[in-house]
Subunit: 370 residues, 2 copies
């Protein structure tokens, strides 16, 4: 490793005959190993303590180290391997940045199935379960006694609280404040589309499912959205730009948000889907936009009824479905509460904690090093 050039703003390093790697001086100072607190690992360097036109007093390579002395006397030492791994333009590797496997019904003859006991006992099974659930957006855990569904969720992280509590019991109730708490059918939907961030991963543990009816349905809304993007780009554009008003309100709450059905990442990839007719408020778009909107919205809706996208299954006591609530649509058939008891227990863990658990479980050699 040699210094190839010192320009006004940057140092260029050459390694193994490859093209020089550019390291701006401000970057080197701001990311000096001493710029981070040794205990908390947080950056503790004040970037304004150096001038805009910061330049080294001296810079040299020595063995496998770059040593820079700054005008204020501070010395920064960078190991070659660190510089190569963290050079500008190279993002930190991320075990949780998993490619999403988009699926249609034919790709999912059965849900990937995991043993609850193994997830609870073995970190490697937990990691495998998390990676699968993150990639496909849907999996099934079995062999769970009542309460153990929550144990699985809490193996990952703390539970996301909402206005329905930390844990919710999906049973037919008197005086329901949500259609989930009736015996009615629920068309495919994502939960809590009215929240700034709808809950990330949902855990629905079937304690009992003895009533007539009450089967479950799922679909990958990303498959539906990608189909729309390809076959009906106008509808895709409307649904990814026109914000709908979502609202939940009862005696205690009135939570509202305006967002499109389809949210894209800056690079155009799908980030999340908000699809919940129950929580869609009166559509207040101007009348001259409603024709275009309804055409696009119905094009999406029709695909949520298309057997090419929808899978159906019947949960049994002890089974739990786990799914990305911001991607995987879920629904149920109506059931007859007079014919038997149906009880699902649900909770959520958000994407942040879910992905964090993948990263922490994936730490092997490099530990928590910066």
């Amino acid at each position: 490793m040699q210094i190839a050039r010192l320009s006004d703003q940057a140092l260029e390093l050459r390694h193994d005959g490859a093209s020089p790697i550019v390291f701006p001086f401000l970057w080197l100072r701001d990311n000096c190993p001493t710029a981070f607190d040794p205990q908390t690992k947080e950056r503790n360097f004040d970037l304004l303590s150096v001038p805009d036109d910061l330049k080294p007093a001296s810079a040299e390579t020595c063995d496998d180290e770059l040593v820079i002395t700054w005008p204020d006397g501070h010395v920064s030492r960078f190991e070659q391997s660190w510089l190569l791994a963290h050079q500008p333009g190279v993002p930190r590797p991320d075990a949780a940045a998993l490619p999403r496997k988009i699926w249609r019904a034919a790709d999912m003859p059965e849900l990937p199935r995991f043993s609850g006991a193994e997830i609870l006992a073995d970190d490697r099974v937990l990691l495998d379960f998390l990676v699968t659930t993150q990639s496909l957006g849907l999996s099934l855990v079995d062999g769970l006694a009542p309460g153990q569904g929550l144990d699985v969720a809490q193996r990952i992280g703390f539970l996301r609280e909402t206005n329905f509590g930390k844990v919710f019991d999906v049973v037919s109730k008197p005086d329901p404040n949500n259609l989930a708490y009736t015996a009615q059918a629920l068309a495919l939907h994502t939960d809590l589309a009215n929240q700034e961030i709808p809950p990330g991963f949902q855990f629905l543990h079937c304690i009992a499912n003895e009533a007539q009816g009450g089967g479950s349905v799922f679909a990958d809304s990303f498959a539906i959205a990608e189909d729309l993007r390809e076959t009906d780009p106008g509808a895709f554009r409307v649904l990814s730009t026109v914000a709908l008003p979502f609202r939940f309100h009862d005696r205690a709450y009135d939570i509202r948000l305006r967002r499109p059905v389809i949210t894209l990442r800056p690079d155009g990839r799908l980030d999340e889907i908000r699809y919940n007719a129950h929580l869609t408020d009166l559509i207040d778009l101007p009348a001259d936009q409603l024709g275009t909107f309804y055409r696009a919205y119905r094009a999406f809706m029709k695909r949520t009824r298309d057997p090419a996208f929808v899978i159906a299954l019947r949960l049994r006591g002890g089974e739990m479905v786990v799914f990305d609530n911001r991607r995987t649509l879920h629904g149920r058939e109506a059931f007859n509460p007079a014919t038997g008891f149906r009880h699902l227990q649900g909770c959520y863990v958000d994407r942040g904690e879910f992905e964090s658990r993948i990263r922490v479980l994936d730490r092997r050699h490099d530990g928590a090093s910066l």
Copy 2:
């Protein structure tokens, strides 16, 4: 109110000689009063149960009512007052959609001050406190016994849990996982910029502040961002488009996110600021973007040190600052733990619950009607 015209897709109503109001047929059917569950108030009508080209079998006005009979026999009745209030293009009034009052130091010689006892006892004071805190992004509550800061927060909604728990105690600790838990100075920042949604409103209740040092500083980052937008639009554009890597990691967590410092709403207004050098990971932008980035970032940073924007105060035991953590920057001077005890107790309530409480307290006449 008379029917002025029936087109292929819409009905036009004329009222009091004004221009006709257009009500598309699909909108009328989808928002028929019977389309909402009477108990949960959620939409329970299936939009795909009617055809794309839905048209009424008959439509008439009768007294102050529009009565439509649909081809399947369903009859929709709309009151004139409801149609005028909810016509397409007219958003639902929102008591929580408050204009933000952007402030500089000169606008804030003192924080708006509320009595903790009154907030806890009186809904009208609570609403006044919420509206002020929402508008300015910062207020002060006094007269609080230990624990009562949490009571105030929970008058608004449930607490937002994070990897630091639901309640955090800002004291100098051994083996800290966060610089807040040291005696070091903390430059102005927003908390948890590494979270997909950083916590909304922060409640920092001063239980004791007897050490030398430990004063508090605040600034309205929206004032800083608007100043940048006006005086240095290039820097504003960089900070609102270039996503930075944020990261917190300790033994239990590794939570990451990539976002710009400035997030705008679709209409260009400011939505939130993420500004936390401590949680900014190694800057991994390509080298040829770093010059532009550092110039813009330092322009923002310099304004966070400018007395025109920054206010300083010293919290006393029993006082609590409440601020919009996604807008109001907070920081502290270093303190000397050998000279006395300093203990702040903190918690968060997210924007969704905060705004919901404003709406629920504001319900007077119209209640929860649709």
